[in-house]
């Protein structure tokens, strides 16, 4: 436990000085503030932010995360030459990356809502969006960690991170869209819902939409959809699935890290 805390605080100190991360937070701040400036009301700002969050948070978590892990490789090797257990060391490294990322996002995107008195205006939707962004930061920094500890070549690693990003945000849904059009004559509800669970970006989107655009989602006459998306229980399930997603890349890369030959 002590090791985790030490490593996390080292990571925090390291990253809080990172210009990249400050720029990241500032970017979200300017964006959200700007959306308010240009006459958006609460839900519209949340909707505009949603797409940006879904695109940018995974991108930054993946690319910045991978670069960060590559950069801290020698530091880690140095630590490993000391009598330090690997599992806690890894947990500390991951949290030391994910926490600053999530924090930068939350502060940058959240402050404008505080300034603009976003308390009443779609507060639940905003809170959901913030939570989704934080969880996405954790998930994709985990994936970045896994990539970086699996691929030794930096260039390939960063390329892979970009590939994962493109696949998760755009290509995956594109494939689903194509499949829906191609197999439109078949009952697609179950496979589609399953497909949504398999991609954390989709999960995050649906969780936020259940707060914002539920009236549109309810327009589809599928009982299963309505149950999964229109009810509080369905939204809670999607949220739980999203949280579970945090564990997947973490466990994968922790295992990878523990067995790795340095």
């Amino acid at each position: 436990m002590n090791v985790i805390r030490l490593i996390v605080s080292a990571g925090l100190r390291d990253l809080s000085r990172s210009r990249w991360l400050i720029g990241y937070a500032l970017g979200f701040f300017v964006l959200a503030e700007g959306l308010f400036w240009f006459g958006g009301s609460g839900p519209q700002v949340v909707l505009s932010l949603l797409n940006i969050v879904l695109m940018v948070v995974p991108l930054v978590a993946l690319v910045f995360g991978a670069i960060h892990v590559y950069a801290s490789r020698e530091f880690v090797e140095l630590l490993l030459s000391q009598p330090v257990p690997r599992k806690p060391l890894f947990t500390g490294l991951w949290l030391g990356l994910a926490l600053p990322l999530a924090g930068a996002f939350a502060i940058g995107a959240g402050l404008p809502f505080v300034f603009n008195g976003g308390g009443g205006a779609g507060f639940s939707a905003l809170a959901t969006l913030a939570a989704a962004g934080v969880v996405l930061s954790f998930i994709f920094s985990g994936i970045a960690t896994w990539i970086a500890w699996t691929t030794d070549d930096r260039l390939r690693g960063v390329g892979l991170a970009l590939g994962v990003w493109l696949a998760a945000t755009v290509l995956y849904d594109g494939a689903i869209l194509a499949a829906t059009a191609a197999f439109g004559d078949y009952p697609l509800e179950r496979p589609l819902l399953a497909a949504m669970i398999l991609n954390p970006v989709d999960l995050a989107r649906l969780v936020v939409l259940s707060q914002l655009d539920a009236s549109a989602l309810m327009g589809y006459t599928g009982a299963l959809f309505n149950k999964a998306l229109g009810t509080a229980g369905g939204a809670a399930m999607a949220g739980a699935a999203l949280l579970a997603w945090c564990g997947v890349p973490y466990l994968m890369s922790a295992r990878r890290f523990a067995r790795r030959d340095f």
């Binding site: 009301s41 609460g42 839900p43 519209q44 949340v46 909707l47 949603l50 797409n51 879904l54 695109m55 009443g120 205006a121 779609g122 639940s124 939707a125 945000t169 755009v170 290509l171 995956y172 849904d173 594109g174 689903i176 869209l177 829906t180 059009a181 439109g184 697609l188 509800e189 589609l192 819902l193 949504m196 970006v201 989709d202 989107r205 649906l206 939409l209 259940s210 707060q211 914002l212 655009d213 539920a214 009236s215 549109a216 989602l217 309810m218 327009g219 589809y220 006459t221 599928g222 959809f225 309505n226 229109g230 009810t231 509080a232 939204a235």
Partner: protein, 427 residues
């Protein structure tokens, strides 16, 4: 001045010349303790005052014209779950100040709390009509006024409940300031033309907030229709005017803020459509002027089917809807001109307030969803954003079906809807 005085005296004299007007007071323990007895005794012009108490009597039938029934202290007329409560079968009758309740459910007869049958010029005002199968039922009764009634029921499903205010072949009715909740249809016009419906609140009904069929030349204004299971549906009528109403919170695949089916000619003006799965739905509607409405946070603001012809959308606001417009075909028979769209990204070089680039409100994704409803699951996905961006770069991707050639740069008015409030799951 003297002339007016003369007139007044003349009228007073004429009044005195008529049959003496009696007031019959009904009350527990009084000279007349049953409403039935009072209704039998009443002569034309009489006033029957019913004082506080609960009256459990066989169905009350009033057959004498020009009688006024007044409730003092909310007397309760109770059908004990077994029968219709009050039936008026004479002209010029007024019913005011009663609590009417307990018709019970029947599958054989349309029991109503208050029914006017062949009773022209009736006035049903300020009553509480609670827990009846049908609330107020006008049957072949022309020129009636139904005002300021509170009509409520808690029927479990459509088949075990009736309509709140129902009009059957009752032309020129005025339905105003009523509150209706929990019935099957809040207000239903059937073969009843030239009615005026205003300032009513019809909410949480099990089917439609307002429903009319074969009722021409009616005017509906300043009503609120909220959280009705299937919204509002109007069908098979011509020359209707629907102005400055609110249509809200109609959620679900078969729910519409306002469904227009086979409506010929009319005006839909200044209404607010907010948080409906579908704001307005046009099927077979022809020559409608749809102006100055606000569509806010609907799933689909407007669904305009190809069989809806010559409808004209102008001056409407489309704000924060998941889809602005969809249609089921690539051909367009309705026109859009001079609306404000929050999705418009054009410019205005000559600064006349009209965008120089036409706006295509039907996005490619909307068309895909229309053809493959399951793809709705990808709503607001980055992929769809990419699709939208692609449409901007390659306009040929956009369905040409519907176009607003003169989209407005700025909204015409401040939106009155409370778009600032997002809601969670439906009630």
């Amino acid at each position: 001045m003297t002339l007016a005085l003369w007139f007044a005296m003349l009228i007073a004299a004429a009044d005195l010349g008529r049959l003496p007007v009696d007031t019959i007071v009904v009350g527990p323990g009084g000279a007349v303790s049953a409403v039935t007895v009072a209704l039998e005794r009443a002569k034309p012009g009489d006033v029957v005052v019913v004082t506080a108490g609960t009256y459990r009597e066989p169905t009350l039938v009033l057959r004498t014209p020009n009688v006024t029934l007044l409730g003092r202290g909310w007397p309760v007329l109770d059908g004990e779950g077994k029968r219709a409560v009050l039936v008026v079968e004479a002209n010029d009758v007024t019913v005011r100040g009663f609590t009417v309740t307990g018709t019970g459910v029947s599958n054989l007869e349309d029991r109503a709390g208050i029914r006017a049958r062949n009773a022209s010029r009736c006035r049903i005002e300020g009553n509480r009509v609670y827990d009846n199968l049908w609330g107020i039922y006008l049957e072949r009764s022309a020129d009636c006024v139904v005002r300021d009634n509170d009509v409520r029921a808690s029927g479990e499903n459509q088949s075990s409940s009736g309509n709140g205010i129902h009009l059957y072949q009752s032309p020129r009715a005025v339905i105003e300031d009523n509150r209706i909740a929990g019935q099957r249809d809040g207000i239903y016009f059937e073969f009843s033309e030239s009615g005026l419906t205003r300032r009513n609140v019809s909410e949480k009904n099990q089917r439609y907030g307002l429903h009319f069929m074969y009722s021409d030349s009616c005017l509906y204004e300043n009503n609120t229709f909220s959280a009705n299971a299937a919204g509002v549906a109007v069908m098979y009528s011509r020359g209707v005017t629907i102005a400055t109403n609110r249509f809200e919170d109609a959620w679900g695949g078969g729910a519409y803020g306002l469904l227009l089916k086979e409506i010929l000619g009319g005006e839909i003006r200044g209404n607010i459509f907010e948080r409906n799965s579908t704001g307005i739905f046009l099927e077979g509607a022809t020559r409608l002027q749809i102006r100055d409405n606000d569509f806010i946070q609907n799933g689909w603001a407007a669904r305009v089917f190809a069989d809806a012809t010559d409808n004209h959308f102008a001056g409407n606001h489309f704000r924060a809807n998941a889809f602005d417009v969809t249609t089921n075909s690539r051909s367009a028979n309705s026109t859009f001109d001079g609306n404000w769209w929050d999705g418009y990204r054009g410019y205005d070089l000559n600064r006349d307030g009209v965008g120089d680039v036409p706006f295509h409100p039907v996005r490619l994704f909307a068309l895909i969803v229309e053809q493959h409803p399951a793809s709705l699951l990808l709503l607001r996905s980055p992929t769809v954003a990419v699709l939208d961006a692609a449409e901007r770069v390659m306009p040929m991707l956009t369905p040409e079906a519907l176009v607003d050639k003169r989209p407005l740069i700025k909204p015409l008015r401040k939106s009155v809807g409370n778009a600032g409030v997002a809601r969670g799951a439906p009630r």
